[in-house]
Assembly symmetry: C2
Homo-oligomer: 328 residues x 2
């Protein structure tokens, strides 16, 4: 019997989940839930039900794992606890500072419902977090660094779009090569925000807009750009669509540390991702952890879990014997 999956929310991430399920033959997509009128939503799987978010309770016995594809700002803080009362759920809550609070709320609801709820699954938080944890456990005398990019930051692109005279924009976060090299050398540098990443912006301005003013507003925007070296390019809408329509991302988690009787030996642990599609890769991670959540629920576990709590073997379609034989 296949693991029956529901998708709650159908944006880029939801579509990514839909595609990822097709790569996992032990899973099937049962329904997609939307807050829009279900009749107006066409999904990529013609034989799958599209249902109203309001009717999700009717699916309690028809879905093994509900995957939440809403945003971290307002959707997930409300939806994950609510749905964890009814379903085994997985979300990709990514507001790092609010994870402890989200954990507590979800944990309470999941225990009440007798379900497992996995939060903050994806690549950061997610695979990057795992690599920070493994590397720091293995090299206690060391220092770790996370770099993001080259990739599109949706939040920064949105911030530029809100400036008067801007029609559209794409912002790339780019790790600084010199900083990466310094980290890999093992000297454990202290790096400022400005030294780690640069920001490159491709902006389509309205005809006759004051480009100098737009560039100044971008570069001086607090939190988003003021602490970075930022480059602004004005381009045509045509060029933006042609060359900047993808959602690539990626990054690096690097830990360097020392061992030996006199700390005489250096070690570098590096994990990196180079992703053509940020939401599709996030979706692929979520689907693997949905399998683990399903198995934990079947083992009688309840409550909120993160990637740190999951024995890796539970992520794989292969049996424990196969994994030991083929991958260990």
């Amino acid at each position: 019997m296949k693991i029956r999956i529901g998708i709650f929310g159908y944006g880029n991430l939801g579509r990514g989940i839909e595609n990822a399920i097709r790569q996992n033959p032990d899973m099937e997509l049962v329904a997609v839930f939307t807050r829009r009128d279900p009749k107006t939503l066409t999904i990529g799987s013609p034989d799958v039900t599209v249902a109203s978010a309001c009717d999700v309770g009717d699916y309690k016995d028809k879905i093994d794992v509900m995957i939440l594809c809403g945003g971290s700002a307002t959707d997930l803080p409300q939806q994950t606890p609510e749905l964890a009362k009814m379903f085994t759920v997985v979300d990709s809550f990514d507001t790092h500072a609010r994870i402890p609070e989200h954990f507590e709320n979800v944990n309470k609801a999941a225990k009440e419902g007798g379900n497992v709820a996995m939060i903050s699954v994806g690549w950061d938080p997610g695979m990057f977090s795992l690599n920070r944890l493994y590397a720091s456990a293995v090299l206690p005398e060391g220092k770790d660094y996370t770099f993001w990019g080259k990739g599109v930051s949706q939040g920064h692109s949105d911030a530029i779009r809100r400036i008067e005279g801007v029609l559209d924009a794409k912002q790339y976060t780019i790790p600084v090569d010199k900083a990466l090299e310094a980290v890999r050398s093992g000297i454990a540098p202290e790096l400022s925000t400005r030294e780690k990443h640069t920001r490159e912006c491709f902006v389509v301005a309205e005809d006759g807009a004051d480009k100098a003013r737009i560039e100044k507003e971008i570069k001086e925007m607090p939190n988003y750009f003021a602490d970075y070296d930022t480059t602004v390019h004005f381009i045509s809408m045509d060029e933006l669509k042609r060359n900047h329509s993808g959602i690539p991302h990626g990054g690096f988690v690097i830990r360097t540390g020392k061992t030996g009787a006199n700390s005489e030996h250096n070690h570098v642990i590096e994990y990196s991702l180079k992703l053509d599609s940020n939401p599709e890769f996030t979706a692929s991670v979520i689907v693997a952890f949905a399998r683990a959540a399903y198995r934990l629920t079947n083992n009688g576990e309840t409550g909120c879990k993160t990637v740190f709590d999951i024995p890796p073997a539970l992520l794989s379609m292969k049996s424990a014997e196969e994994l030991r034989k083929e991958m260990l």
Copy 2:
């Protein structure tokens, strides 16, 4: 109360464990066990007992986790099951093909003794295995590659030393840059043994030895060198000691895979290690997993485990709350 550790066997790995324990304030080294006469062995920790391997049974209640530092060829297949009857144990059994058999033997003994026994802990098998598993679970439609080096292969160095006329030798395994680049490009190439790695040998020959014959014997040695492009350098004993006395190693685990409605997006997951000391890094990994083994035993679990079975949070000195707050 600290986790009380015993070291069984005191070579490079045992010394690495001794040093790694000093970096982990929740652990203490209680005793080192040797098959030699304990009086003849001086260890790096003057206040720690050196005991005979024969007396290990006397330490049943004095040690929480016994770390086995013997070799995979003959020591561990016998020692791990024997000691798993008495102790929670961790070994670094690294003969990949014999892991299923070793698992069965150790599992039986550990269940008999009511202990947890972790096998095949280190970096390959170990951290590399974990990365193969995570990456393949996340990108089911993909292909993975493991490259080793640049690093010293003890087995290949030993093989050269057995050739007539050779006084000493060091062999480096080197990944081929062109192969690494082809893999990272996402074209999922089929690579032969020869295309993935080269072998570089530094050989000290006896005075008057036939160097041409030695070089030919190395390059044509089946299994070890015949399938590789091998370079042989003859150097002086002095130069070998000066420039080739370290035991560096490392390598790469790379998986590329596709996602999307039409598999239109490529992704690259890469994990790499650059290690100044192979045995010390292996020891650092083992010590982190010894903490997990201790915690599993305290939770009442028994039997043989591998790195695939361990929730990552168990490896860290930090609490689950701290990990979620600081690392997720």
